[in-house]
């Protein structure tokens, strides 16, 4: 009786020792522990034994079964561990990377400018890029013979239809359809007949601002530009207003920000002046109000412009405007 038990055990050990691979374990299990395996058949043969030996043999068989199952589980663990070691990943290999998109830097800055003005209570308006002479010039107090037309060399489609030279026509369109109070910006593309170089592009991007209500003064304009400068470039940026000339504003101003690179001490970027020219602004000229159907005796207002490209160039320290429109992925990937 014990010889049977020992025989099975030693046979199991012999075969188990011969196993080299995880996949050979399953036949071992089938042979010894399976439904029709050696242990099962041995149980079946209990009835052949004399009655008094049966319990003892049964007990011995059960113990053997537990023992072999245990050993079998250990074998599985051993082989799995070995297998695992064999298949170990080289974690230093690069991962499979997906293509990833990104926003264009100029539009990131445009978003930022829009967010700042929304935080100051401005709505965002839009207007066509191909405009009528009326909206681009006449209504903005720039009649045909006005010398200011020379300031902005214009691209024409017909004698009367042109590529807008500034975003100011949107002012007129908004004032024509909406009564004051108005507090809006209009970002967009504008065109000039300029030969492209590092600081000129025949098309570039502006944000127009317009505020019209009763009692609006130059002090509002100064305050808004100041607030914008702080939110865009930080609290330590100073703003300077200088008199200038635009036909559509009176009084007119140019405004400068203290140089963000040298903090106004003077450097190469600001040509040692400590100031960076940003753009123009002023109080809306009464002739503009008249052209747009708003009573200049009741309402006053201010308007301003700024260059998105210029602000982006300052923000990212870019010195050639053309790089924005080449769309080289090695440039775009940096943002």
């Amino acid at each position: 009786m014990n010889t049977i038990i020992d025989k099975i055990r030693s046979e199991f050990h012999r075969e188990a020792n011969a196993i080299k691979d995880l996949k050979d374990l399953e036949p071992l299990r089938v042979k010894f522990l399976g439904r029709k395996g050696l242990l099962s058949t041995s149980f079946d043969r209990i009835s052949e034994l004399p009655k008094e030996q049966r319990p003892l043999f049964g007990k011995a068989l059960n113990e053997l079964k537990k023992e072999l199952e245990n050993e079998y589980q250990n074998l599985i663990k051993q082989f799995k561990a070995k297998e695992e070691q064999k298949r170990k990943l080289d974690l230093t290999l690069p991962g499979r990377r997906p293509f990833i998109g990104g926003k264009h830097p100029l539009l990131i800055v445009a978003d930022e400018i829009k967010d700042i003005f929304r935080s100051l209570g401005f709505s965002i308006e839009d207007g066509p890029e191909i405009e009528n002479d009326f909206f681009n010039f006449e209504a903005l107090n720039i009649p045909k013979t006005h010398p200011a037309r020379d300031m902005q060399d214009t691209l024409y489609v017909t004698d009367d239809i042109l590529l807008r030279t500034h975003t100011s026509p949107v002012q007129i369109r908004v004032m024509q359809r909406q009564k004051p109070p108005i507090q809006m910006i209009a970002p967009g593309r504008v065109y000039r007949r300029d030969t492209p170089d590092a600081s000129h592009s025949p098309f570039f991007h502006q944000v127009e601002g317009l505020v019209v209500d009763e009692g609006i003064t130059f002090a509002d304009l100064k305050g808004i530009i100041q607030a914008f400068a702080h939110r865009m470039f930080g609290e330590d940026v100073k703003v300077r207003f200088r008199p200038s000339f635009f036909p559509f504003t009176e009084p007119s101003a140019e405004y400068d920000f203290s140089c963000v690179f040298c903090k106004g001490r003077g450097c190469r970027v600001c040509k040692n002046t400590g100031w960076m020219e940003i753009s123009g602004a002023g109080m809306v000229h009464p002739n503009v109000f008249k052209a747009a159907g708003i009573d200049p005796e009741t309402y006053t207002g201010y308007a301003f412009g700024m260059g998105i490209d210029r602000i982006a160039m300052i923000k990212y320290n870019i010195n050639d405007i053309r790089i924005f429109f080449e769309n080289d992925v090695r440039f775009l990937n940096q943002f």
Binding site: R97, Y156, R193, R242, N327
Partner: protein, 793 residues
């Protein structure tokens, strides 16, 4: 406009340094772009005395000089022929640096040692060309710094950007007037006294008639006899050169000098060439031609103010004189013209002629009619002084209806209301009078040189700039934070952008002006052309975003950036009737080319194809929440490759195309690779985008899937089969996906196997296998019958 610091000081005493003055002017609206010293400062050049000059033993043209300074005597080799013993000269010792950037070193010249250099004016940056060394005209202390000697005469050139409204500041005197107001000093009057040394009266010599008083309200002249044409004196040449004018001869230089000084253009005629000694001012007629003094024949715009004699035109009024009457070396007698022309007329003619001169620029911005006589006298006096001329008695001054000074009602409160200030009436008056405006009985009287002032707002600017903009109040908005809602348009654009970014596409921002060839293939009829383009490269407006985007693709491919996935949102320019502004809808487009996956050690290299761009499109459209859109076969877009192009249709409207870009069109952009793309018209699309979506409950019960492969004629379209199955598969059929398409081994010629995966699901219960099998079998039967298909085993 260029003026010099010292020239300004002739008309106003002020104590500001050049830099302080520049800041003052800039802050008052006369932007000083640059201040340059006339003499570039240098140091280390000292006075030396030439003690001895001997011939160089080995060179004929060189001399060996001994130069004594306060530090001792130095041997110097000098090549200048004019070096002489006893001269006091500028001496650069070893180690000194010349202003032209040269450093003096110890040297051996043809075997003889040289320990410094005797300088010429050229080497000190004082003139552009010198013939020899600079020998001082007097004895000077040895070792004295040479720049310090010059410094007493140093001057600074101010380059001022004068805005178009400030014609009055296109002169030294005009800027001096501003300086006087800004520094609180008095403007000195201009000396315009003339000694009329001839007995003959001008009226006996010339007659002047104005036939076009609208174009030329005032015309005045003097006759100047016996002029001696010669170079003008040094001081005048230097001043003209400093402000950027080239000296010519004394007569021309004097007219230029008065132009710069007073801002009033003059013209000198050779009196002998004026037939009949008569001047007629009239306007030109269509087709008139004239040869200007630059020897160019010009077709005159109609209604140009012309100065004529008894027989012929002699000058284009206010713009340029004529070749037939210009002052030459033989000129003896001069007719000197000083006139006032209407700004609009000069602007019109100058623009149409394409001829802009110092004179026309001043007249079109508005000269001062009151300067006519002042300028005439100033020039005549200078001609008497510098050209030995004799001046006939009197002035011929034709001024039929003198221009009046403008009047503006004086309203201090209006000025304060605009500026947000509380300036007193006194302060405002004081500021206005400082720039020679008169304030009288509630009126402000504007002098004739300030064409730009006509309304109260203009006065507000004057007060503001004289107070200085920096001193105006500013409201404090720094603590204000609103949250203005985005407009619907803005919201939609941002939404599209977000979704495209989520698809892993890179946003680009392209040119909207492109070459004709780059626009034409995308235009429905013809692209919109620009009449006066910057260049042929930017001659048309893009009819499609592809025009600019393919340029960006090409740019990148040329730089070996080969795997590209781009999108852009922007305006395109489509139909145009030439009467109204064109339709310029927003479009959204994507283009892809290159590898399907980023290169990796265990990803096989494959390239994108039609199904990649279609996949992008389908995913994108899914996020736009459109009902009822269809992707249809579409070969109508000639810029798309035949047989590889589809369109998006909503209702009966085509809102976009998708597929491979036509290789021939890509060829225009020098692109040889396959490029795939889609473009959608946002303005059309947004009508159909539904943002107010209702939540759909997630199914509670499990689904069952069944797969089937049909063997079909190969030209039966997959979409037709899917649609048939979807329509006829019963209400429990939730989706139909194509999981396999196969042709080849085991499939008969002309057939194709299409594997469909059908998903069944109920919202109310778990479906039993038998039930699903029943529906499944039914649709298999219908489909095989409908398409004469069989089942693939």
């Amino acid at each position: 406009m260029k003026v010099t610091y010292r020239w300004l000081k002739e008309f106003v005493d002020f104590s500001e340094t050049p830099d302080e003055l520049a800041e003052l002017l800039t802050e008052a609206g006369l932007e000083v772009e640059e201040v340059t010293p006339l003499v570039q400062p240098f140091s280390g050049i000292i006075v030396g005395k030439v003690e001895q000059v001997q011939k160089h033993p080995n060179a004929d043209k060189l001399s060996v000089c001994q130069v004594r300074t306060d530090k001792g005597t130095f041997q110097v080799i000098c090549g200048a022929p004019n070096v002489k013993e006893g001269q006091f000269v500028p001496f650069a010792a070893v180690g000194a640096e010349l202003p032209i950037g040269m450093k003096i070193k110890r040297a051996k010249i043809r075997g003889v040692e040289s320990l410094g250099m005797i300088c010429s004016k050229e080497e000190l940056g004082l003139e552009t060309h010198s013939e020899g060394i600079w020998a001082f005209d007097r004895e000077l202390p040895l070792g004295k710094d040479v720049y310090e000697l010059l410094e007493a005469d140093q001057d600074w050139v101010f380059d001022i950007a004068v805005t178009p409204n400030r014609g009055d500041c296109l002169s030294v005197y005009g800027i001096a007037r501003e300086v006087a107001a800004l520094t609180g000093n008095k403007l000195k009057p201009l000396n315009s006294e003339v000694e009329e040394s001839l007995e003959t009266k001008i009226d006996e010599i010339v007659k002047i008639h104005i036939h076009d008083p609208e174009g030329c309200p005032r015309y005045a002249a003097r006759v100047i006899r016996d002029v001696k044409i010669s170079p003008s004196p040094d001081w005048m040449q230097r001043k003209l050169e400093a402000v950027g004018l080239r000296p010519i001869n004394n007569i021309v230089d004097i007219t230029n000098y008065v132009l710069v000084e007073l801002g009033h253009p003059l013209h000198a005629f050779d009196l002998r060439q004026i037939e009949g000694s008569e001047i007629h001012v009239r306007s030109s007629e269509a087709g008139d031609r004239f040869v200007t003094l630059d020897d160019k024949e010009r077709l005159l715009p109609e209604n140009t103010v012309m100065i004529c004699d008894a027989a012929k035109p002699v000058a284009i009024g206010g713009i340029m004189g004529g070749q037939n009457s210009e002052v030459s070396g033989q000129t003896k007698d001069v007719l000197l013209e000083s006139a006032y022309f209407k700004p609009e007329r000069i602007a019109m003619s100058s623009k149409k002629l394409g001829l802009s001169t110092d004179a026309s620029q001043r007249f079109e911005r508005g000269a001062d009619p009151e300067n006519v006589i002042r300028a005439l006298n100033r020039a005549a006096a200078l001609m008497a002084e510098l050209a030995g001329a004799k001046i006939a008695k009197g002035i011929c001054d034709v001024y039929p209806s003198p221009l009046k000074e403008k009047e503006i009602p004086f309203k201090a409160d209006k000025i304060n209301r605009l500026l947000g200030t509380r300036f007193s009436e006194e302060l405002i008056k004081e500021k206005l009078t400082s720039i020679q405006l008169k304030v009288n009985e509630g009126k402000v009287i504007v002098p004739t040189f300030r064409h730009d002032l006509s309304i109260a707002e203009d006065l507000a600017e004057e007060v503001a700039r004289l107070v200085n903009y920096s001193n105006l109040p500013a409201k404090d908005f720094t603590t204000i934070f609103y949250d203005m809602p985005q407009s619907d348009h803005e919201k939609r654009i941002q939404y599209l952008r977000t979704e495209l970014l989520a698809l892993g596409l890179q946003e680009i921002f392209c040119q909207s002006m492109v070459k004709y060839e780059e626009a034409e293939p995308f235009a429905e009829s013809a692209p919109i052309r620009i009449k006066n383009p910057v260049s042929d490269d930017m001659a048309c407006m893009r009819p499609s975003l592809f025009s600019g985007m393919l340029k960006a693709v090409s740019y990148n491919l040329n730089r070996n950036n080969r795997d590209l996935r781009f999108f852009e949102i922007g305006r395109i320019f489509t139909s145009f009737d030439r009467e109204n502004i064109p339709t310029q809808p927003y479009a959204v487009a994507a283009v892809i080319t290159g590898r399907r996956d980023l290169p990796n050690w265990n990803v096989p290299e494959e390239f994108v194809d039609f199904y990649d761009i279609k996949g992008y499109l389908e995913t994108f459209l899914q996020k736009l929440f459109l009902d009822n859109y269809k992707i249809i076969l579409y070969d109508n877009a000639r810029y798309m490759a035949a047989g590889e192009s589809v369109a998006v249709r909503i209702d009966d409207e085509i809102v976009g195309v998708c597929g491979r870009l036509n290789p021939e069109v890509c060829g225009i952009f020098d692109i040889e690779r396959a490029v795939y793309g889609f473009e959608l018209n946002v303005d059309q699309l947004q009508k159909y985008m539904i943002f107010d979506r209702q939540f759909q409950p997630i199914p509670k019960f499990p689904y069952s899937e069944r797969d089937i492969a049909f063997l079909l004629d190969e030209d039966i379209l997959a979409a037709d089969v899917v649609e048939y199955v979807r329509k006829n598969g019963g209400s429990l059929l939730k989706s139909v996906e194509i999981f396999d398409v196969y042709q080849g081994e085991n499939i008969p010629e002309g057939k194709r196997s299409l594997g469909l995966r059908l998903r069944y699901q109920s919202t109310e219960r778990t479906l039993s296998d038998q039930e699903v099998d029943k529906y499944f079998q039914q649709i298999i039967n219908k489909t095989t019958k409908h398409f004469s298909a069989s089942l693939r085993k």
